[in-house]
């Protein structure tokens, strides 16, 4: 164990930047294509700068188009939602019979980027998503104490002060992680909106491109031995989902998000605030007892999942200072010798 206040964490040698996990979330699709293109074109430039870059330690970047068949059809998925297929059950289930395309694809991705939970997995997965909700840029992670993800978040906040930015924590302590970013040793979804599915907007694309670049810069600084100061970060922990009111017989929705709530993601929703407006014009109110922060308000892909919005509680998390574990130190640590 370290006795000083700086937490030492292993080098991030490989970073996967994934887009098109949902085939109609286009910012990530075009950004990954751009990264793949730049990789080819950038080769020669890289050689020229080799001397200068010696001091820096950039990670090896894997750009991955996660669901090419869904991208081809500009749909969220072909058979089933790929981003729910990374449970151990799905990854290790039977491979005979009618296996959905996305389950096959999740195994291919697990072979390339994982195996999930294994020592050979990539150090960091950044999975790019878009939402129709007015959420700005969010990092969504399963942990509220993954110091790598939280420090990257703070770096992006500082570098992009014009973009509303939040850290969302999906607490799955009672269930298993299921999304593509769970394959890496660290991972998060970078979710940006509002952007309609099947559409790419320049401003959203530009924010995503900047976010990815700042993330890679941070990893480079981290690997090169920089220390990142400890600080407090606001974390939004998902508490529950709320479904649309539905017709008892047809299960069709009977109301839309209320105009006073629409586009007000992360603005505190208080008991008795307007929640829905029925198609005949009636206002339905929030019946909860606790004021919570709404997000994913009117996300297009969640109608079929029975989610009109999600609600979060905000907490302040103390993130410690971190720096990379040097190789010598790692050996010492492994030998179990205290300094």
């Amino acid at each position: 164990m370290e006795v000083d206040e700086v937490v030492r964490l292993p080098r991030l040698s490989r970073v996967a930047v994934c887009g098109g996990t949902h085939g109609n979330e286009l910012s990530g699709v075009y950004l990954v294509r751009e990264l793949l293109k730049g990789r080819k074109e950038g080769m020669e430039e890289k050689k020229k700068n080799e001397v200068e870059e010696k001091e820096q330690q950039p990670p090896s970047v894997l750009a991955v188009l996660a669901n090419p068949r869904a991208v081809e059809q500009c749909r969220r998925y072909v058979d089933t939602d790929l981003n729910r297929c990374f449970t151990h059950a799905a990854l290790k289930g039977p491979s005979s019979g009618a296996v959905p395309y996305e389950v096959i694809r999740s195994r291919e991705l697990n072979a390339t980027l994982g195996p999930k939970g294994g020592p050979g997995a990539v150090e960091l997965v950044c999975d790019l998503h878009n939402t129709t909700a007015n959420m700005g840029l969010c990092l969504i992670a399963y942990s509220d104490r993954d110091w790598i993800c939280l420090h990257i978040f703070r770096h992006l906040q500082r570098q992009m002060p014009d973009i509303p930015m939040r850290y969302i924590h999906f607490d799955v302590s009672n269930q298993e992680t299921y999304s593509l970013d769970s394959v890496g040793k660290h991972g998060f979804a970078m979710e940006i909106g509002p952007q309609p599915h099947g559409v790419v907007r320049s401003n959203v694309y530009a924010a995503m491109k900047a976010g990815v670049q700042h993330m890679l810069d941070w990893v480079c600084f981290f690997n090169s031995g920089g220390t990142f100061e400890g600080e407090y970060v606001d974390v939004f922990t998902m508490i529950k989902h709320i479904d649309y009111p539905r017709d008892g017989e047809t299960r069709n929705i009977t109301a839309a998000i209320h105009p006073q709530l629409q586009d007000r993601d992360f603005c505190l929703l208080r008991p008795e605030d307007p929640l829905f407006q029925t198609f005949s014009g009636e206002t339905l109110r929030y019946e909860g007892n606790e004021a919570l922060y709404p997000f994913f308000i009117n996300e297009g892909a969640y109608y079929e999942k029975g989610i009109a919005l999600s609600l979060a509680r905000k907490r302040r998390v103390m993130v410690p200072a971190i720096r990379v574990q040097t190789e010598e130190r790692a050996q010492v640590d492994e030998a179990g010798v205290e300094e």
Copy 2:
């Protein structure tokens, strides 16, 4: 021929209000469902008001969910775009072999609402659509001298002063009409945006509901013998479409709508104005010689059609005063007797 300045036009006995022609344009889907529901529930109320309504002459309203299978799947279409299937060739083509679902459906709709071009067709078709473009409320019609459509447009403009509203003329004089609204004796698409496909926003739904109600009110006034004064109307006539820049090999798009153009539908686009921003960050400019009005800017469904935006010329059209043709007068007209 009338010698006075008021053009007399036949009664509008039946009006079809269609939604879900594109299954993921949800305002129309939910509005048609609401109309179908209201029809059942409204029966008794109607009987009570029978005496009051004698003076008025409301049309018979047919609410139609045009593409139920696409609605079920929340997709634009299943096999092919239904709203391109109302040409005589498609309506009368072979019915054996692998006929696309939407072609079969177009024939069913033509049997219910048409036949297209025949004396038994409904007098007016209002087909409800949504767009991801920031177009406000538009009526889109094939004619710039359909006085019924133009007077309805002016009525909506007056009744809904807070909603930006335009009349778009698709000049198909060199080709055949192809959309659902072409089945009626008069017809238009009511197009409202911005709304992502697969999403319903309360404000867009409310605007569509109000638009349909004002349209039906106008038809009622018209049938009841009211005179509508002549006036000038701005008409946007579609001149051409512009596609995205694309990769020569893959045909993937290589740029998005420029941030300075995005959401600026119906704001004059001048030669050399920014048009696209490539995914590597370069600005591409409008190379045309003529300033024109852009619309359908970044419509999600048009990526596959090769349309990044459309351009229109604005003209002022003199719309004459109109009133309904009375039955006696119609008989006189038919007998060819001049007054």
